[in-house]
Amino acid sequence: MSALTSLTLKGALDGLDAGDFSSVELTKAHIEAVEAARGLNAFLFETPEQALSMAAASDARRSLGAARPLDGVPLGIKDLFCTEGTPTTAASKILEPFVPHYESTVTSQLWRDGAVMLGKLNLDEFAMGSSNETSAYGPVVNPWRRSGSNQALTPGGSSGGSAAAVAADLCLGATATDTGGSIRQPAAFTGTVGIKPTYGRCSRWGTVAFASSLDQAGPIAKTVEDAAILLKSMSGHDPKDSTSLDVPVPDFAAFVGKSVKGLRIGVPKEYRVDGMPAEIEKLWQDGIAWLKDAGCEIVEISLPHTKYALPAYYIVAPAEASSNLARYDGMRYGLRAEGGNLTEVYENTRAAGFGDEVKRRILIGTYVLSAGYYDAYYLKALKVRRRIAEDFDNAWEKVDAILTPTAPSAAFGLGENSNDPIAMYLNDVFTVTTNLAGLPGLSLPAGLDANGLPLGLQIIGKPLDEGTVFSVAGAIEKAAGFKAKADKWW
């Protein structure tokens, strides 16, 4: 049934509408693909029975002429979204075993719209990582390999399971989350499309928290249009999240294919970093040329505080994480270790339950918030954060959207960067600025490097202007004509 798994989400919806196949047939094909791809380690929990029962219910709705916007399409869910009755681990031992009694707002909206759940996808522990290697359940393996090589590559992180599952045709789309680049960098490493919307577009309720002022959900999909369709279902105001925006949700898909003639596209000179491969610079120039051909005006801009975004992020995000993760105390859910007194129970539980990277970030966060360092580090970082947001405010006076590379390299080998935290952090150099400023950012595949690995371009938009981002992405997608898929080895 490989024909069914190679469909786009839009193509599958059209086929279901036309009666070419049923959701049960479509779902079975994907369940078989998931079972055959266990070597990728993309799924932590497979839910085939639930998927088939959701698919049968979908077919029944469709036969009554009551099909919903996503009716019958099988999706993968990042294991950071709470799913009622299905384990939710955040890829951490400390949440083992945790079975939520409630559904996250984002996933509940996908099921409201008729989608089918195939299972829960692997990620970096608590979404802290750029290579999926911090998962307590072992890393996801990228479906892509360098030509002529068998070396296992990272799918990126933290949404590596989501990106790998979409790239390997295991699902028609997946949920993901992005705190510093965790949707866009894995999308770039796997030849998929991922968008982090404006902060507040998607409710954070029921999603395991990492850094609450930066966390935002979004989809990873096969095409720009598919990402737009999924984002519409995932978005919307939720009274249960006080930072959820009470604004209308546009029909994002209607922006894909719209003319971009006359749009002003900013190209920030600070996004040329030392050591960036020439191929990425060339891809960026290709993107500029494609948008010029489509009638855009290209404007060189300056975002002078770009280089300070990552250091500011590595204060703000760990500070928020150290506070958010204080809840894992072994009392109300998850793991509990033994100890001689209450404090020892806490300390032993957290020592046994958290992995090294999570501990490292909690320690940094605790340090920068501790007495005597709060002003020097935490307040300073929040002030730099405003400088970064102001850079964008100034840019929006001159341009309608910004074009950059998504990541400073193609997918690297598992284990290649894992001994140097700062080298790993630098993966997010082009993506983290939009989290700090709360802006929408989309990555789409635009070409292959000399080793045959996909490379991504990023489009950054004004707050709540995902529409323009989708239009620009649609124009690049059309011009780039990226059709490459990973050769199936799994």
Binding site: P97, F98, V99, H101, Y199, G200, S213, P239, S242, T243, L245, K307, Y308, P311, A312, Y314, I315, S322, D329, G330, M331, R332, Y333, G334, L335, R336, G339, N341, L342, T343, E344, V345, Y346, E347, R350, A351, K359, R360, I362, L363, I364, T366, Y367, S370, Y373, A376, Y377, K380, A381, L382, K383, V384, R385, R386, A389, P421, I422, L436, A437, P463
Partner: protein, 95 residues
């Protein structure tokens, strides 16, 4: 600001994470490496700049102070390592 072994012990204690003594030196070096890289923030002129705590421009919403859910003690304690009759069972806190 160098992070020494004593600082690591203090921060680990504050964070309630047991770090074995043989890990303390290595952690101090790791954290020092990261904090040294972060020090470049000192180059940014932030005089008179207000800290940015939230990118959401509207204020916090208010709602009526009414009970919206509750009465589900069994559900709430359903994932607890130890529970009895809708109560969490925790280690002895008061001697």
């Amino acid at each position: 600001m160098a992070i020494d072994a004593a600082t690591v012990r203090k921060v680990a204690r504050l964070a309630r994470i047991a770090e074995p003594e043989e890990r303390i030196e290595a952690l101090a070096q790791e954290l020092n490496g990261i904090m040294t890289w972060i020090e470049q923030l000192a180059e940014v002129d932030t005089d008179g700049v207000e800290p940015l705590t939230s990118v959401v421009h509207s204020g916090l919403p208010l709602r009526d102070d009414v009970v919206t859910m509750g009465g589900d003690a069994d559900v709430v304690t359903g994932n607890a390592p130890k529970s009895v009759d809708g109560f969490f069972v925790v280690p002895k806190v008061v001697e």
